[in-house]
């Protein structure tokens, strides 16, 4: 069943990459350009899944995650991290992130995260 997926990343390039990978699954894709935009878009659209970058200007990924979790404790957020961000990712999971993927994105893993969390 097709659902909504929100991609939160300040880098358009990364959003595009994710879109290209996820598009074939048929889910509806929404985009947010930073953390605060991400929270707003979550409130507005109640997506089934969120891919959230960690390092972003203004409201960063962790803060974005916190705010989304506060809005909806059942929110499914997948963090997009880089190698070396283990501690941050661990924190994110403790806050409530469902999953994480590591950049550079491996299409198979992104799809795995989509299928396992939708």
């Amino acid at each position: 069943m097709a659902g909504k997926i929100l991609l939160v990343d300040d880098a358009a390039f990364m959003r595009m990459m994710l879109k290209k990978i996820i598009a074939p699954t048929g889910h509806e894709l929404l985009e947010a350009v930073d953390g605060s935009d991400g929270v707003a878009k979550y409130k507005e659209n109640k997506p089934n899944l969120v891919f959230c970058d960690i390092v972003m200007p203004n409201v960063d990924g962790i803060e974005c995650l916190k705010q989304i979790m506060a809005l909806d404790s059942n929110a499914k957020v997948v963090m997009c991290s880089s190698i070396g961000q283990q501690t941050v990712v661990n924190d994110a999971i403790k806050i409530g992130a469902r999953d994480f993927i590591v950049k550079p994105f491996d299409a198979a893993k992104v799809l795995e995260a989509v299928s396992k969390n939708m």
Binding site: N90, F100, V102, K116
Partner: protein, 655 residues
């Protein structure tokens, strides 16, 4: 060091700790076999070791610990009593485990079938239980330790219990090869699992998971009312997982884990971190090379200081003074990081003394004091065997049988007191027993009987000298081969070893009252305080622990007894050894002789030198890897401030 080496090292260190705690637990269970807390300690240690060895693929270690765990589980559940035969078997297991853990790669070669047979036998006195009682004891057990009864294939499943407290499963999760943030991945798995059950334990521990100290696999022990399928699904729901295996677990939740859990959450329910001493494991090789580098640094510093003073560079001297302080601090810090408490070797003695005493049907109390005194790791490694030998002598030859002791009006139980204390720059270790002591006359007779000296020579020995005969090569070996003493190590080897480190050994004994052995050890072997002397044009270092005093004598004071040069000091005969003769160096032939009196095997010897330069800290460089290897009389070499090399005398083997 690659990953595997790191795991192996971690395994070695941690399994040794668990073995030690099992040993301690078993010793106290021998006195108090029903102590449930100690029984639990034993159970947990066996369980943890099982998990660790399974992770490493050491099947035999896993099998043995598994069976030990089962036995302890039966004890915990009051199915059997821990009688002395069971304790003996467990001790045997510990010995075997120790061997296996030492070289785990070879652990599969050790036959453990008979031990497992003994562990799983039903011969142990069982506590007969009626159905009613089972319920009662289980309830009592729960009330005390908040334990969740094990349920699984090997345990009878009581459906009532099951519905209340759930089953315990062991889930083995293997991460995908390409998984990059393994720790974070494991956190996701744990979080998912914790939503449907209570996580009791993880292998490796959570802390190690968080620090990514694991390979691709980790285990989670979980208590849940859900079934295995549900657990598997929960774990598999996580990305980058290549395999999930769910098994019924036969162990139980341990109190320790619960306690840990309770301290994670504070009153407000928010997470607080457990306070712990932050530490890193560093290999001794790395510390050695650090020490060596600091040594080199100090040598260069001394050279610079000499240059500055030769060329009268005042401003450089000022800078060097602060460099001097820094290097001294650095040296002290590194020395301190190498220090370990002596209890690390003391710990193994209660067990050894117990075994030997039991073997020889003696009753012995071992009192250990000063276990917190710290010694350089290298020194500690070296004194383990000598101490074992000394203690063994106390048991074999010192403490009498209970009957004899009673006859002599002594307490039937003998006492051995092993004490460590710090004295200035040394550590003194004393082993005192209240046994039969040494009879100088018997010592003389034995020496003659063994052909070590003639009747006349023996008769001339003072009592102290006669007692010190035990340090003579060929005297104490193989006199009586006991279980441990089969190695043929004599007291002469002990003395050589202690002397080789720049330490000394002293023996005092009163017939009928007991014997005291005193070891004086340097705090570290890497740097020793030495008296620098000159013979001919060469400089030698004599470890200060060996030096009694220095004095000067006139040539005409020297007397000759049986072709040996001696000098009378306050009525005592002091044998003289001219170092330039010994080393075949030309002496200066002056009328006044400088003598450094050193202690050797309880008696004093005067070393004749040309010049006494003064005291200095020297850094030992081993002679192990070069042409001087095996040359007796030298403990090593050191590099002096001017770049010259000085040999360090080993008084024990020099003469």
């Amino acid at each position: 060091m690659d990953d595997m080496d790191e795991y192996k090292e971690m395994f070695a260190v941690e399994s040794a700790e668990h073995l030690q705690s099992m040993n301690d637990a078993l010793l106290s269970l021998e006195k108090d076999p029903a102590n449930s807390e100690t029984i639990n300690v034993m159970f947990r240690a066996a369980h943890t070791l099982k998990g660790m060895s399974a992770t490493m693929g050491y099947t035999n270690i896993k099998e043995l610990t598994h069976n030990m765990e089962n036995l302890m589980d039966r004890v915990r559940k009051n199915e059997i009593n821990l009688d002395s035969s069971a304790i003996d078997v467990l001790f045997e297991c510990l010995d075997t485990l120790e061997k296996m853990v030492e070289t785990p790669e070879k652990s599969s070669e050790i036959d453990i079938a008979s031990l497992i047979g003994k562990l799983s036998t039903n011969d142990y006195v069982s506590v007969p239980l009626k159905d009613e009682q089972i319920v009662q004891t289980n309830a009592a057990h729960e009330a005390i330790s908040n334990d969740i009864p094990a349920a699984g294939i090997n345990a009878p499943v009581n459906s009532g219990e099951k519905s209340e407290t759930g089953n315990i499963y062991e889930i083995t999760v293997t991460l995908h090869e390409s998984c990059m943030l393994k720790s974070a991945r494991s956190t996701v798995v744990m979080r998912n699992l914790s939503e449907i059950g209570e996580i009791i334990e993880t292998v490796p521990p959570i802390k190690d998971l968080e620090d990514e100290k694991f390979d691709r696999e980790f285990k989670v022990i979980i208590s849940t009312i859900e079934d295995a399928k549900k657990l598997e699904d929960a774990a598999k729901k996580v990305s980058e997982i290549s395999k999930v295996e769910v098994k019924s677990h036969t162990g139980s939740k341990s109190r320790e884990k619960i306690e840990e859990k309770t301290c994670v959450t504070d009153g407000n329910g928010s997470k607080t971190s457990i306070k712990s001493v932050q530490s890193v494991r560093v290999s001794i090789e790395r510390l050695d090379s650090l020490m060596n580098l600091v040594g080199e640094l100090i040598i260069n510093k001394i050279r610079l200081m000499q240059l500055a003073s030769v060329h009268k560079l005042d401003d450089l001297e000022e800078t060097l003074a602060s460099l001097n302080r820094l290097t001294n601090d650095l040296q002290e810090e590194i020395m301190a990081s190498r220090m370990v408490p002596i209890e690390q070797i003391f710990n193994r003695f209660p067990r050894m003394v117990r075994d030997l005493a039991k073997n020889q049907e003696k009753e012995i109390d071992l009192i250990l004091e000063g276990g917190d005194i710290e010694l350089d790791r290298t020194v500690l490694d070296e004194i383990g065997d000598p101490l074992v030998h000394i203690l063994r002598n106390c048991i074999d030859h010192g403490i009498e049988s209970p009957e004899v002791r009673k006859q002599n009006g002594k307490n039937e139980k003998g006492t051995i007191r092993l004490t460590a204390r710090r004295e200035k720059n040394h550590v003194v270790i004393e082993a005192v027993d209240d046994g039969k002591g040494m009879d100088p006359q018997k010592m003389r007779e034995t020496a003659v009987k063994k052909g070590l000296m003639t009747q006349e020579e023996a008769a001339k020995l003072s009592d102290t000298e006669a007692i010190n005969l035990s340090f003579m090569a060929g005297f104490s070996t193989a006199e009586k081969v006991t279980e441990i003493s089969g190695r043929g190590v004599g007291m002469d080897v002990v003395r050589t070893k202690i002397g080789g480190m720049g330490g000394s050994i002293k023996l005092e004994s009163v017939p009928g009252k007991g014997t005291m052995m005193r070891l004086k050890l340097p705090l570290t072997v890497a740097i020793i305080h030495s008296l620098m002397v000159k013979v001919g044009s060469d400089i030698y270092a004599i470890p200060i622990t060996n030096v009694i005093r220095d004095l000067s004598i006139k040539k005409e004071e020297i007397k000759t007894i049986k072709g040996e040069e001696v000098v009378l000091i306050r009525g005592d005969v002091l044998p003289l050894v001219r170092l330039h003769k010994l080393f075949d160096i030309k002496g200066n032939g002056s009328e006044e002789l400088l003598v450094v009196v050193v202690e050797r095997a309880g008696s004093n010897v005067g070393l004749v030198v040309d010049q006494v330069i003064g005291q200095q800290e020297v850094i030992i460089k081993n002679l192990d890897n070069n042409i001087l290897k095996g040359v007796k009389g030298f403990a090593g070499a050191t590099i002096l401030g001017d770049g010259n090399v000085a040999l360090i005398l080993d008084v024990g083997t020099l003469l």
